[in-house]
Amino acid sequence: MDLHKLTIREFNAGLKSKKFSAGEATAEFLASIEFYDQEIQAYLEVFKEDALAEGESVDKIIASHDELPLLAGIPMAVKDVILVAGKRCTAASKILEHYYASFDADVVTRLRKQHAVFLGKVNCDEFAMGSSTENSAYQITKNPYDTERVPGGSSGGSAAAVASGMALVSLGSDTGGSIRQPASFCGICGLKPSYGAVSRHGLMALASSLDQIGPLGKCVEDVAIVFDALRGKSEYDSTSADISFSIDNIGKRKLSDYTIGVPKEYFIDGMEREVEEGVRSAIEKFKKAGAKIKEISLPHTRHALSVYYIILPAEASTNLARYDGIRYARRPEAEAAKTLKDIYLNQKSSGYGDEPTRRILLGTFVLSHGYYDAYYAKAQKVRTLIRRDFDEAFQDVDVIIAPVAPSRAFKIGEKIDDPLSLYLEDVFTLPINLAGLPSLALPVKKYSLAERELPVGFQIIGKRYREEDILNLGYQYEMIQFK
């Protein structure tokens, strides 16, 4: 039935008009997974029975003529750092190979209220550390546009699943670009909400001052609908907030009302020609449609990489300390240990891959006595300057448009031996996390898997809590495309 081609609204309408049942839809997506995932390898675990049962309960709601929520029956994939109660949650690491989640993440609870269907957990870089999903301890996920290339990371599984029709929407997490970059590499849309717009309760924490959960989907409207369902102040996340947002405002405010900032520091030597051309053509389309374009400067952009890769490992080394084999699953190597210290050492050395180990050591270093001031304290001060750059720019512009990554999807294995070269992939995305701003990644044009042209994406960055602005602009960009 090609249900993966439908938008959320079309899917909902199809269910209501009985074109297909939720049970049939779920079965179709499960069949797609069985067929395509042999190659793509996006899924770590498929919840076959549970998904079919969830589909059936949606059909009961339809039969009883009760109100059918917009997300009812929508087949979704969940990044394996987000807890789904009773299900394994591994963070794509061996250290949690046998850990089963003891509660639903807040976002999962909210989606369950609307009777969404959870197809399974998808692959990512280990503990969301990475930009290619190659750091997963379990499997390599392929880019559906070219299976010799990476889908991006760390939410590579989330992006690949949607791009190849193995889920209608998916959940990912973005700490330094991990939703936006894979969305761009796979030709789909992805939203990193403002810090605090979506609760982090039930997200395995990587960097607590940077993480956000967000939706990935085929079109901006789908991403907006899922965001609307996820957002909100949660009792269990004291950094979360209710924001002013109405889904009905998406598509309303005219493009000519907006002033779009284009930061000159984001167009650098060494960018792939196709990426620069793609992003500039997108800006041109906004200009033709009546938006005002203004060149701006974000002078501290070039320091963002250092700032990020000091702060993230510091926070991550703290957050990852808990997987010491005491409270959560203990590895057999740690089981054999006789002392507490040996449990910790064996658990972590047998459980953590190279990238988490590297970042834990880096984090420990920058926080340690004698180095704290020169590294961590310094980075947090420069972070203030990065934030100020954005605050000042936003006095003159409403949104900022920028590239997402310096290149399109690179080949599997190309960068994995040089951690620094992978970190450089994030230069355009991580400043936004440092500033806590929302950003929507979307493709510069519609791509088709059949043509195998490698996708180029761009991002629309908004003021804090102004997801309405960026989603509105993204939605209208898609309208312009089809003129």
Partner: protein, 97 residues
């Protein structure tokens, strides 16, 4: 040379992590390269700049001081303990030898 093998050994001790011997050399080289990259931060003037202290500027986010329902049942919270006593305590080797 910002760091050397002794530094890595010390960091590993602090983080309670053990690096496999065959990975030590690459780990040292990778970390060295990354830390060298950070040298560029020295050029930024941060005189009088306050550091960021978290993701938000919220303060004093409290819950009501009432006897609310448990957010997580005791049973689900202790399920992943590797070794559990009959009364749901986590059984571990002695902290002090």
């Amino acid at each position: 040379m910002i760091i050397n093998k002794a530094t890595i050994d010390y960091l590993a001790e602090l983080a309670r992590i053990k690096i496999k011997p065959e990975k030590e050399e690459k780990m040292l080289r990778d970390l060295e390269r990354i830390l060298e990259y950070f040298e560029e931060l020295k050029s930024v003037d941060t005189e009088g700049v306050e550091p960021v202290t978290g993701g938000t500027t919220f303060v004093n986010v409290f819950r009501n001081n009432e006897n609310g329902a448990a957010s997580l049942s005791n049973e689900s919270a202790v399920k992943s303990f590797p070794h559990r006593t009959a009364d749901n305590y986590n059984k571990i080797p002695p902290v002090f030898e």
